[in-house]
């Protein structure tokens, strides 16, 4: 039996598949050009970024405390949420305190992770996604399938239809610029009536307490400018020691994510608006969320917490390209998701233990990761974990007969010589399903079992 992700890939429409392949291949090409053009060899920079993150994770409690102090000094209210439910409740109670009924949200993977939107809507709060991609996802009741380009699996024809159906547009028009203009008109109206803005954060500088947000649409600043309340939901691993470290991370992030030297907007948020600022939120809250992160930190896959959510590993991954992000059945798809999802949502490990298997272990992800995460090693450690925890695996080939054979030299030599018999056997009809599937697509080379050893003996005579 093929694994779930393989079956998923087999069944997705050609249209969706093409969108994913085109979008991700373009991402890989742009990344390569941008990084190598400016840095020649970007590897020392990737290693440095990885080392800074590693250092931070080793001293996370310290840096968390520092950040809290620096943020508080700036007049920001700091909250800690250990679970997704805690985070949702913390946000809801801040919103209730301020009597908020309508808000705008800029793209945040942490918010996706805790399924914030449906929760707020259930609780009577009108919650509008302001990132164009996320906005379209929301209209379609869909799920994002990529960290940076949530609608990588869609094409403009489908989007034009959505706009028509939802009354955002009066007629069908699939010209990208027209689509964007129409979304803009719609969203601008909403910004003005919203009472709060929710964002994530790409970085929190523990020395200054400033939050850094990068976007390409400027939607987060629109979300903050007109209203009185800003809530940032931030994974505890987003902290960096010093503001000067941004020179490393910002240079890598834009280039790795979208092939841009810098994203169009890089916002430094100093806290609530000061007395001499014309506008901006009067109240600012930061909700630090753990939601499984300390468990990951304690595991042998802690390196994955270095991740800065750039999506380079998704773009380059040949399995992701074939299967799409939705195949991974969790907020995070592709290599980052194959490692993070099964361990971040710890109780779901048995159910998601197939994710780390969805890799030929080609290591393309390791090469592009801006924070030097050895992703394929982590995939292997998780395969080992699944085996030790005796989680059944679809179609897995039992390996102990192999181990017996490979530790019995004379048995091995006999098997090699005997394998030549296969050349005369109709193995295509052998009643072994995986073998049949394999041979359905490929031909096997002729067996030359034992020939080399024989040749060598004669040569040595």
């Amino acid at each position: 039996m093929p694994q779930q992700i393989d079956t998923y890939a087999r069944n997705i429409s050609d249209e969706k598949q093409h969108s994913v392949i085109d979008g991700s291949s373009a991402g890989t090409d742009k990344r390569y050009k941008a990084l190598h053009h400016d840095y020649g060899d970007p590897n020392p920079l990737r290693k440095l970024a990885g080392a800074i993150k590693d250092h931070t994770l080793h001293h996370l409690d310290e840096y968390l405390e520092k950040s809290e102090k620096a943020l508080t000094d700036r007049g920001v209210h700091v909250h800690y949420a250990s679970t997704d439910e805690d985070a949702r409740q913390a946000i809801l109670s801040i919103l209730r305190e301020h009597g908020v009924t309508q808000l705008t949200k800029s793209k945040s993977m942490a918010a996706e992770e805790i399924h914030l939107n449906p929760f707020l809507i259930e609780n009577g709060i009108d919650c509008l996604e302001s990132d164009l991609g996320e906005f379209i996802i929301q209209l379609d009741g869909d799920e994002p399938s990529h960290i940076v380009k949530p609608i990588i699996h869609k094409n403009r024809r489908g989007i034009a239809e959505t706009f028509l159906r939802e009354g955002i547009a009066a007629d069908y028009n699939d010209d990208p610029e027209t689509i964007t203009r129409r979304a803009r008109v719609h969203l601008r109206g909403k910004y003005m009536t919203a009472e709060a803005g929710i964002t994530g954060a790409n970085f929190v500088c523990s020395d200054t307490g400033r939050l850094v947000l990068v976007t390409n649409e400027g939607n987060s600043r629109f979300g903050m400018a007109p209203n009185k309340l800003h809530i940032a939901l931030v994974g505890i691993e987003k902290i960096i020691p010093k503001e000067r470290d941004l020179s490393v991370f910002l240079n890598l992030l834009g280039r790795s994510a979208t092939g841009q030297q810098l994203t169009v907007y890089t916002e430094f948020i100093n806290g609530p608006k000061s007395a001499n600022q014309a506008d901006g939120p009067e109240h600012m809250h930061v909700v630090f969320i753990d939601n499984g992160r300390t468990d990951v930190l304690a595991s042998n896959c802690r390196e994955i917490l270095r991740c800065i959510r750039c999506s380079a590993c998704q773009n380059v991954c040949p399995v992701y390209r074939q299967a799409s992000g939705h195949a991974y059945r969790s907020t995070y798809g592709g290599p980052i998701g194959a490692v993070l999802s099964p361990i971040l949502f710890g109780s779901r490990f048995p159910e998601l233990a197939d994710l780390p298997k969805a890799s030929s272990l080609c290591g393309a992800c390791n090469e592009v990761c801006p924070v030097d995460i050895p992703i394929s090693d982590l995939l292997l450690r998780l395969r080992d974990k699944a085996k030790r925890e005796e989680i059944p695996s679809e179609g897995a080939i039992p390996m102990s007969p192999f181990a017996t054979l490979a530790t019995s030299p004379s048995l091995w030599r006999t098997a090699m010589t005997m394998s030549k018999a296969m050349n005369h056997l109709p193995i295509q009809v052998a009643p072994i399903k995986p073998l049949q599937d394999w041979l359905g697509q490929r031909t096997l080379p002729e067996s030359h079992g034992g020939d080399f050893r024989k040749w060598l003996k004669e040569r040595r005579r």
């Binding site: 393989d6 080992d384 090699m416 394998s419």
Partner: protein
């Protein structure tokens, strides 16, 4: 990828033939012996060798793969360089093994890791051969598939340099060279659709470049790719890069 900086060199080596050469690709193993001997190297072949253990390791059965790794480490005990005509089996020795023994390291495993060379890397960087004294009889277009297990090692560059220096050889680039062929051992069994699509895409790119020969440092990738291509009715001439080194040498009179 962890590759030791202090791997031993020298004119006496042990050959790890790999299970794939044992079963199917004897020519690659023969060429390895012939090329090394041409370079004045004495090649020992420990009879009790079997497989590096990768199938079990990659599928997560580290109990099984550690047994095989210990067997391999015993077979190749000593201080001679261990030469492997496969980037992926070499990487199993110097990287995979360290991973699966990370909680309880064993000296014999570390020793094997320190001494293992992929053969083309050994020729280029161990023996210091910069140009290959071979020539094709006719202009020959070579498509070189850089196998994934040579990422992070020097093998890819070594193969390109050596093949590129052969007379009448032209290395032809093809699209999306960084992409995997889709084999991945047991991956091709448990993910047959994705594996097949990856291989087909790779073959599309390779055939677009109209090569005379498709080569690689890993026969496993070539087995998968050419197995697909043959089933699709578009066979392509292929061999291990070490066979090209052997076959272009001047014939001894």
């Amino acid at each position: 990828m962890i590759v030791s900086d202090e791997r031993p060199v020298g004119k006496r080596v042990m050959l790890m033939g790999t299970c794939l050469c044992d079963a199917f690709y004897d020519e690659a193993a023969k060429a390895t012996v012939e090329v090394l001997e041409y370079l004045g190297v004495t090649v020992e072949f420990p009879e009790n060798q079997t497989c590096c253990g990768q199938p079990a390791f990659n599928s997560g059965d580290w109990n099984a793969s550690r047994k095989v790794a210990r067997h391999t480490a015993d077979v190749f005990a000593g201080d001679l360089p261990v030469i492997v005509p496969s980037g992926s089996c070499a990487a199993m020795n110097f990287h995979g093994n360290l991973l699966q023994f990370e909680e309880a390291p064993e000296e014999k495993i570390n020793s094997l890791a320190r001494r293992t060379w992929e053969v083309m890397d050994f020729i280029r960087h161990g023996l210091g051969v910069k140009t290959w004294p071979g020539t094709f009889a006719e202009p020959t277009r070579i498509a070189f598939h850089r196998s994934c297990h040579s990422r992070g090692s020097n093998s890819g560059e070594a193969i390109l340099e050596l093949l590129g220096s052969i007379g009448n050889a032209e290395i032809v680039p093809f699209g999306q060279g960084e992409q995997c062929c889709g084999f991945g051992g047991t991956f091709s069994v448990t993910f047959p659709h994705i594996s097949g699509r990856m291989g087909t895409l790779k073959m599309d790119h390779i055939l677009d470049a109209k090569p005379d020969i498709l080569t690689s440092g890993d026969m496993s990738c070539l087995m998968h790719l050419t197995g697909l291509a043959r089933a699709q009715g578009r066979p392509v001439r292929h061999c291990h890069a070490i066979e090209i080194l052997r076959d272009t040498l001047p014939v001894k009179s």
